[in-house]
């Protein structure tokens, strides 16, 4: 395993080499963290503008409305509204959640948890961040164009996203930005896959890796295979827009040749469905670990969990058609996709059972990472189960493109992934910065996030079932939705509350990172035995002075026969017989 020699390099000295073009996976991880937090704030503000418009159409946005939309006295105009939900989706998926879960947690955790000194391709890693940066600049830059940014939805279905529906340069920049982002995340993914395969510490077999690494590794595999598929679709669409090809043009719009807009949907969702799992797998992995650590028990059915995560990874590649039921594919395809989608519930049920098995007869500590991990179990339970409605083709005839879908995917992608990201951040924070975040604030942050979060997304599913469809500037044009005004206002208030709650996190984060004379964190504050907790906090730039030799699994906690009153053992120690 450790057949790659890992040298200890000198620590970088200048600000430039230490913080800007760093090759150190930990610094790159932190760069992705700040990047993700910045875009979370941008995307979150957009979400609030959207929510305001849905609850109070035609009413000026409070406080900063006049500043943002001086021409309309602070009211969000319809074209801006389309731009907002397009950019909200794009930013949250590609520029907030992906950087935090894979960019930040992937970079930070992989070498530390497998006992490596760095990623196997440090230069590629650094390039991956700077490509992401270029891509982010392009996307934000597109907001300043005269015709504005892309406004065809984050799925950018042609023919709306061709010159026919989006004449501005914004859509082209959107395509190029996402293409660059794809290059960046593919670089990262290739790096992660290879690092996990080649740099695991001697003795660490695949079934001795922490489940976090399983999640990140499977994510990287999906990412490396399927993000290039999106890249192909984006390039073809760019050709349609810039060079006059007609890959996706049909009907009256196709003046020459004959393309097919549905082709893009296939390409998009071949990528798009695995993308959902690209986002959620790291969260599942780290939740599996954190539940074990804070229940002071080995992860229940470790192998089954790892295998069911792998099974879901494989299944996720063959279910994408459930996003396209209303395009009326052949019945054979439709029913195959429905059946395959349903099958995902079996491995999901298995790892859910294992999660609860981990809690069973544990000795549970409710530190902030654990609270967030339990939160993930709760919201993903809801998000996963509501997927069953949408997987069923006949129910989807009614629910497709309604707020039910929006509620469902926010439960899985926004709620679960975000809570998972917070769990990971609070958990590894001492190893990142050598300081502990304020635990009391973290707990307040949890409850202040969790309660409104359910208000928002449960509310969305309710209005969806009542028939409210998506992407409406003013839903109350429709009479059957008049009765939904109070529910929409409730959702909006919940969203504002959840948005405000994030300032608790930001305050906690900035206070801990930047205040002077903050007490240093111990090397192993949570008393767990994975490799990263055996080195000092914060981790030195070379991580491990000696490459560790792994002798037991990652969650050896609660063994009654452990010596000197400890209730956990390090992975480098010989397994104590129970």
């Amino acid at each position: 395993m450790a057949f790659v020699e890992q040298h200890i390099h000198d620590a970088p000295t200048s600000f430039w080499s230490k913080y800007i073009v760093s090759y150190d996976h930990k610094v790159i991880g932190k760069q992705f963290l700040w990047y993700g937090i910045f875009f979370l704030m941008v995307g979150g503000l957009m979400a609030l503008l959207i929510r305001w418009t849905l609850a109070y159409p035609g009413v000026p946005f409070p406080v900063i409305g006049n500043l943002l939309f001086p021409h309309t006295n602070g009211v969000v105009p319809p074209d801006t509204y389309a731009m907002l939900f397009t950019m909200h989706g794009t930013i949250m998926i590609f520029f907030a959640i992906t950087p935090i879960l894979t960019g930040f947690l992937g970079n930070f955790c992989i070498p530390l948890l497998i006992g490596a000194r760095d990623m196997i391709f440090p230069t590629l890693n650094m390039l991956s961040f700077w490509f992401a940066m270029a891509s982010g600049v392009l996307l934000l830059g597109s907001l300043c164009l005269p015709l504005g940014a892309a406004a065809g939805g984050w799925t950018s279905y042609p023919t709306l996203s061709t010159n026919l529906g989006q004449p501005g340069v914004g859509q082209t920049l959107w395509l190029l930005s996402l293409f660059l982002f794809g290059v960046s995340s593919t670089m990262g993914a290739v790096n992660y896959i290879t690092t996990v395969i080649t740099l695991r510490a001697p003795g660490m077999g695949y079934f001795k890796m922490p489940l976090t690494i399983w999640g990140l590794w499977l994510t990287a595999i999906l990412n490396a295979i399927f993000v290039p598929v999106l890249g192909a679709g984006l390039l073809l669409l760019t050709f349609d827009r810039v060079f006059g090809t007609t890959f996706f043009l049909a009907g009256a719009a196709a003046t020459s040749g004959k393309g097919d807009p549905i082709l893009f949907q296939h390409v998009f969702w071949i990528f798009g469905h695995p993308e959902v799992y690209i986002l959620i797998l790291p969260a599942w992995g780290l939740v599996s670990d954190i539940l074990a650590f804070f229940s002071r028990k080995p992860a229940f059915g470790y192998k089954m969990t790892a295998l069911s995560l792998s099974a879901i990874t494989i299944l996720s590649t063959v279910v994408y058609g459930h996003h396209m039921y209303t395009t009326q594919m052949s019945p054979l395809l439709t029913q195959s996709f429905m059946t395959l989608t349903m099958l995902i519930s079996i491995p999901s049920a298995i790892f859910f059972a294992n999660w609860l098995g981990t809690l069973w007869k544990g000795s549970i500590r409710f530190d902030s990472p654990m609270l967030f991990a339990l939160g993930v179990v709760f919201v993903f339970g809801l998000g996963g189960l509501t997927g069953l409605y949408l997987a069923s083709t006949s129910i989807d005839l009614y629910l497709h493109d309604t707020y039910f879908v929006v509620g469902h995917f926010h439960y899985t992608m926004a709620a679960s992934v975000l809570l998972g990201g917070f769990a990971g951040t609070y958990f590894w924070f001492p190893k990142m910065f050598g300081r502990m975040m304020d635990e009391r604030l973290a707990k307040i942050h949890f409850w202040a996030t969790m309660l409104p979060l359910n208000g928002i997304f449960m509310g969305m599913m309710m209005v969806g079932w009542a028939g409210m469809h998506r992407r409406l500037y003013n839903p109350f044009i429709y009479e059957f939705m008049h009765k939904l005004i109070p529910v929409n206002q409730f959702i909006t208030f919940s969203a504002v509350a959840m948005g405000l709650a994030q300032f608790i996190f930001l305050y906690n984060l900035f206070k801990t990172v930047f205040s002077k004379n903050y007490p240093a964190a111990p090397a192993n504050p949570w008393n767990v035995g994975t490799l990263e907790w055996q080195i000092p906090s914060p981790a030195p730039h070379y991580n491990f002075l000696e490459i560790p030799h792994v002798k037991c699994g990652p969650h050896e906690l609660g063994n009654p026969n452990l010596p000197d009153g400890r209730d956990f053992q390090y992975q480098t120690e010989e397994l104590v017989k129970a």
Binding site: A250, G251, A349, F378, V463, R471, I485
Partner: protein
């Protein structure tokens, strides 16, 4: 920004306030979040499966909640200081996990897939095309309006006696309505919440769907697929008339169509041969 736009916005604010006042009318919570009235003979199939799924989900989610909250209570550090040392990989553990997986498979996957497939095969995909009683309508979606074409007296589409309506689909009550649909520009979706159905209108393709009605009145048809900045304004009306009213409407609009149709104007001839691909 031009004045008309600001004026429109002010108008919208007024409408908004008016709507909110209307919505204040007392209404039970469940009624508020129920779907619009079902006017079809097929909508209850979707509701049945929805509620079946809900009940099974409540069962499984209750188990999850029992695990989260129950175990958190029973096995907190205070109450349960000594954790049980188990890797959960004994035979009984694996059997229990497998049983849960199987339980989900049987209670959820099998039933939903089976019922859904049956409904699709027997109802939603069982198009009444060969039924002579079916009302056939061609739909052309465009940014941001719906065009509806009835064949007229001759039963042939794309002829001078076709009745074409903008944003108003007129059908007789109790009859099956079969729609063939395409789009002029971008992808739209025909969404009739009162019958719980939806299908995409895609440029270069024909989509088809059918529904029936059991109630006269005016209902709303929406575009469900994002189709541009004014997607939200792409609303049409479904007018369901009694048999006599429909007969009268057909005759009147037939005469009007024959009198006013400009046979030279090719733009009016957007229809197609029924069933042609």
């Amino acid at each position: 920004m031009d004045i008309s736009f600001s004026e429109r916005l002010i108008g919208m604010i007024a409408t908004g306030t008016e709507l909110i006042v209307k919505a204040e009318e007392s209404m039970g919570f469940w009624q508020r979040i129920s779907p619009p009235e079902d006017i079809s003979s097929t909508g209850h199939l979707i509701e049945w499966l929805f509620f079946y799924t809900t009940y099974v989900n409540i069962f499984w989610f209750a188990l999850v909640c029992f695990g989260i909250f129950g175990f958190s209570f029973l096995y907190s550090k205070k109450r349960h200081a000594k954790p049980l040392y188990t890797h959960g990989n004994e035979k009984k553990h694996l059997l229990l996990t497998a049983a849960i997986g199987l339980g989900v498979f049987l209670s959820v996957d099998m039933v939903i897939t089976k019922v859904s497939t049956r409904d699709l095969k027997e109802v939603f995909w069982n198009f009444p095309e060969n039924d002579p009683d079916t009302i056939k309508v061609q739909v052309l979606a465009q940014q941001w309006a719906w065009n509806f074409r009835h064949a007229g007296k001759d039963g042939e589409f794309n002829t001078a006696d076709d009745v074409v309506e903008l944003n108003n689909l007129v059908v007789p009550v109790g009859k099956k309505v079969m729609i063939q649909m395409t789009s002029k520009d971008v992808i739209h979706a025909f969404y009739l919440p009162n019958a719980r159905i939806k299908a995409d209108a895609i440029p270069g393709r024909f989509a088809k769907l059918w529904f029936d009605t059991n109630k006269t009145g005016k209902f709303e048809i929406a575009c469900a697929e994002m189709c541009g900045n004014h997607h939200y304004l792409m609303k049409a009306q479904l007018t369901v008339l009694s048999a006599e009213d429909y007969e009268r409407w057909t005759n009147e609009s037939q005469e009007r169509a024959i009198a006013t149709n400009d046979t030279e104007n090719m733009d009016l001839r957007w229809g197609w041969q029924w069933g042609s691909k």
